[in-house]
């Protein structure tokens, strides 16, 4: 294999040591948990019985749920992408912004809203006629497919965003295809190879997120594998068994990381770049109609249900006053956690992308695929070793650390993407200028990358915003988040209060993202005009 200057840059021993140390820090809580939970050889041999029929049944249930979610996510994302291609540049940016809204809403919130909507429809006159006799709507909603549908309504933007990113560097290829190829050949030979990798990555991410879901299935009275793990963790002597139950996740993650080690080469973070006239007008019009339906289902209907239950703005205002601290705390957790994920990810990948090993992505994928509860338990164990010596605030720090451990794959992916956008050759040239590493970072890299970094932090923070598994175990006393409160209220609270918090959960990130995007000039970087 030929070696570039970038290769020689990448073999700095200090850099390699720092990266190895970083990986060790991420792994330390889980190693500690494993060591402390190890039950001895005899018990170890016996503990494999944990994979009994019930566990396997639940595992298969979670896999089926993930498959349904992936299928529905593709189904919802493709028409929106087709509509996106038919829009002008400005409108494409608005569509991108709007597509972030479903991501910001925790799936269990969406499930709750849809359960309300369905019960309302079934109780109403027309609904009773249509659904009650056959019980179709409820039957569908409370099945794996129904749960998959609800999750897909939250996760389809992942497929959509990766499709958008994957086709960005394809402009010239699409233009050439417009001249030489039929539309079908263009899709098959030019666009599909670019989409394929994105779809694989998106499916992997969605699959992982679904396999980790215990809040939504439990709310919809479906048994799931993570719930089994959660239950084991709640009994101290069963920790080892819970750890063993996580093995399928880790094994799958390693297989996926190896299978997808070359994927994602076509993804680029430039925005709104594909030519306007890729699709025939009729297809664009139909796609726009379907997209409207998708947004209606994933944002407007849950939002309307929540607003109807809240009833008046007074209640909402009172709730904002009551939960002021919790609201700002949640914003802080999401942003600080995302920063702790994205910035180390960017620094980790700051060396040449050509010489990336498969080990790091495999490790990050495995951590991403592990249930949050396992990582939280590891950090809890780490914290428990030095209970007397902990300064105040370490509770929050360990929680942020657990977020970072769990989702470092996103930071890694963001880093790879951003450096690719900055350009390999550009970085090699920068390295020839006699500037210190820190000056180069401050003068060259940060000014060029600040906008995509902010976008990456916002996207990552959306996944932390609705987190329950880690926060519920690690939040400091009196320091819970809005998502925890929402999750608790869904089980034990009044409907009005629950709906009001749900509204706040959905609305806050959208407003926040809108303001940040407007202040940043709305993604106006790297456009190839």
């Amino acid at each position: 294999m030929s070696r570039t200057y970038a290769h020689y840059l990448s073999i700095s021993r200090t850099g390699a040591l720092v990266r190895a140390l970083f990986c060790m820090i991420l792994l330390l809580p889980i190693i500690l948990l494993g060591v402390s939970a190890y039950p001895g050889w005899d018990a170890f041999l016996m503990s494999w019985q944990v994979f009994d029929r019930i566990a396997l049944y639940r595992l298969s249930g979670s896999i089926i749920l993930a498959c349904w979610t992936i299928f529905f996510s593709w189904l919802l994302a493709f028409p929106v992408y087709a509509a996106y291609l038919g829009l002008s540049k400005r409108r494409r940016q608005w569509l991108l912004l709007l597509s972030l809204a479903p991501l910001s809403y925790p799936p269990f919130g969406a499930a709750s809203a849809w359960m309300t909507v369905i019960s309302y429809i079934e109780q109403s006159g027309a609904g009773r006629l249509l659904f009650e006799k056959r019980g179709m709507a409820s039957q569908f909603l409370y099945s794996q497919a129904g749960c998959g549908w609800i999750l897909a309504l939250c996760f389809w933007p992942i497929v959509f965003l990766l499709l958008v990113l994957s086709a960005q560097p394809m402009r010239r290829h699409v233009e050439a295809a417009q001249i030489y190829l039929s539309r079908w050949s263009m899709v098959r030979y030019v666009l599909w190879p670019a989409w394929r990798e994105s779809l694989l990555i998106a499916s992997m991410v969605i699959g992982c997120l679904c396999m980790l879901q215990f809040e939504t299935p439990s709310l919809m009275q479906l048994r799931s594998y993570p719930e089994e793990i959660f239950m084991r963790f709640s009994i101290p002597e069963n920790e080892w068994k819970a750890l063993l139950l996580c093995l399928p996740y880790v094994a799958t993650a390693f297989v996926l990381a190896f299978a997808l080690r070359r994927a994602g080469r076509c993804i680029d973070s430039r925005v709104t770049d594909l030519p306007f006239s890729t699709l025939p007008p009729l297809v664009v019009r139909i796609s726009l109609c379907i997209s409207f339906m998708v947004f209606l289902l994933s944002i407007l209907i849950p939002l309307t249900a929540l607003i109807l239950y809240v009833g008046s703005s007074g209640i909402l205002f009172q709730l904002i006053v009551d939960h002021n601290g919790r609201l700002w705390r949640s914003v802080f957790y999401a942003l600080a956690g995302a920063t702790l994920i994205v910035l180390p990810g960017i620094l980790y990948t700051s060396k040449s992308s050509r010489v990336r090993s498969v080990a790091a992505p495999a490790l990050f994928t495995a951590l991403f695929a592990c249930p949050g509860i396992l990582i939280a338990a590891g950090w809890l164990r780490l914290r428990g070793y030095w209970p007397g010596m902990l300064p105040p605030g370490v509770g929050v720090a360990s929680m942020l650390g657990a977020y970072a451990t769990h989702r470092m794959l996103l930071g890694y992916g963001a880093g790879v993407l951003l450096w690719r956008t900055y350009g390999e050759r550009q970085r090699e040239f920068d390295a020839l200028i006699p500037l210190s590493w820190i000056t180069r970072l401050l003068r060259l890299y940060i000014p060029s990358l600040v906008r995509p970094v902010v976008v990456a932090i916002i996207l990552t923070s959306l996944l932390i915003w609705g987190d329950v598994a880690i926060t519920i175990l690690l939040h400091p006393p009196g320091g819970d988040s809005l998502a925890i409160e929402y999750f608790n209220l869904l089980h034990y609270g009044s409907e009005t209060r629950t709906a009001a918090i749900g509204f706040l959960m959905l609305f806050t990130p959208v407003v926040f993202i809108g303001i940040v995007f407007l202040l940043m000039g709305f993604g106006g970087y790297n456009q190839n005009d």
Binding site: R172, Q178, I179, Y189, V190
Partner: protein, 348 residues
């Protein structure tokens, strides 16, 4: 010649075409006529709008005013834009735009399939193209594993696979040098056909001579001149065009009774005009001689293949000439003019 007559003879014509990007005018009132059976080279500095011109012809952009004809049929205007695939166009992009997921042979077969060429003909055609462009041994390679010259050849083969009426070449020789460049020039010259219009874009003068039959000069979105290469080169209309075409020495002369009168000599000219005019010479038209009392002073001396390019100041003028001997900067020399100048009519 009227527009109608031009349209009959031309393969591609652009009439009063304007194109804006944001507030910036990229092309202004462009009237281009590319002749069928020959290669028309669009020549101009970077940012002049050459590539935009090709994209408009291909249908990848729509003009803001004016219309574009291919083989006398209107294909683009403000409210109408025929799809690129229906224009029978071959386009070699500057960066080749090869499809990364397809091998060399797949590039050709997929393109031909899209144009509904049946299987037996397709096979023959692919074989022919692979042989013609020296791609036989590379048939199963992906674009990432091809050299710059090979990629260009594949782009050209793909463009010709569809037997296009119009072939558009965007900087076809850029980033290629040495023997591969000469080889590619041969291939490009082979693309000419009696019923095909070829439009190439370049900003290198040597490529104009290597490729072209006709020349159109584009400066800042304005088409300043077009015609047969020799006609254009020997009759530049503006000082900018003359500079682009390699004229280096400009001097104000007087035209009187069919004679060019200047301090360097007198030459007959077929022109009724009387008065001052700008005359232009190539560097080769001046000959230098060492002379300690000479009127000109050497400013710079750069070696070229066999000769030296001398920059000299003469009064308030700066001239450039080629000399067999080297001179030191600051040295005084004399010079004489051996060729008749061209008169730049647009700058009278």
């Amino acid at each position: 010649m009227t527009d109608t007559n031009m349209a009959v003879q031309t393969g591609v014509s652009m009439r009063n075409v304007m194109f804006k990007r944001g507030e910036r005018d990229i092309l202004r009132q462009m009237d281009l006529y590319a002749t069928m059976g020959g290669i028309t080279v669009l020549f101009g500095p970077s940012g002049a709008g050459k590539t935009t011109c090709l994209r408009l012809i291909a249908g990848l952009e729509t003009p803001d005013a004016g219309c574009i004809f291919i083989n006398r049929k209107e294909v683009s205007s403000v409210d109408k834009c025929q799809h690129p695939a229906k224009r029978r166009i071959g386009y070699c992009f500057q960066d080749d735009a090869l499809w990364p997921a397809l091998t060399v042979v797949k590039h050709l077969s997929v393109t031909l399939k899209s144009y509904m060429v049946d299987a037996s003909q397709r096979r023959m055609k692919i074989d022919d193209l692979l042989h013609r462009f020296g791609l036989v041994d590379l048939a199963n390679r992906y674009p990432a594993n091809l050299s710059g010259g090979e990629r260009k050849r594949l782009a050209l083969a793909r463009a010709l696979a569809v037997e296009p009426d119009v072939l558009l070449l965007d900087e076809p020789l850029s980033s290629i040098d040495g023997p591969a460049r000469n080889e590619l020039i041969t291939y490009l010259r082979q693309c000419k056909a009696s019923n095909r219009t070829v439009v190439a874009v370049t900003h290198q003068l040597d490529e104009v001579y290597a490729l072209g039959d006709y020349l159109a000069i584009l400066i800042e979105g304005n088409l300043v001149q077009q015609g047969l290469i020799r006609d254009v080169v020997l009759n530049p209309q503006t000082r900018q065009a003359a500079l682009l075409l390699g004229y280096r020495n400009f001097f104000l002369v007087k035209i009187e009774n069919g004679m060019i009168i200047s301090e360097f000599g007198r030459w007959p000219v077929e022109d009724d005009y009387n008065g001052l005019a700008l005359a232009a010479w190539f560097a080769e038209d001046f000959v230098a001689a060492s002379d300690a009392d000479g009127p000109a002073q050497v400013e710079s001396c750069r070696p070229e293949t066999r000769r030296y390019r001398i920059g000299l100041s003469y009064g308030n003028n700066l001239f450039e000439l080629l000399s067999d001997a080297a001179f030191q900067p600051g040295e005084k020399i004399s010079f004489r003019v051996e060729q008749r100048p061209v008169i730049i009519k647009g700058d009278r």
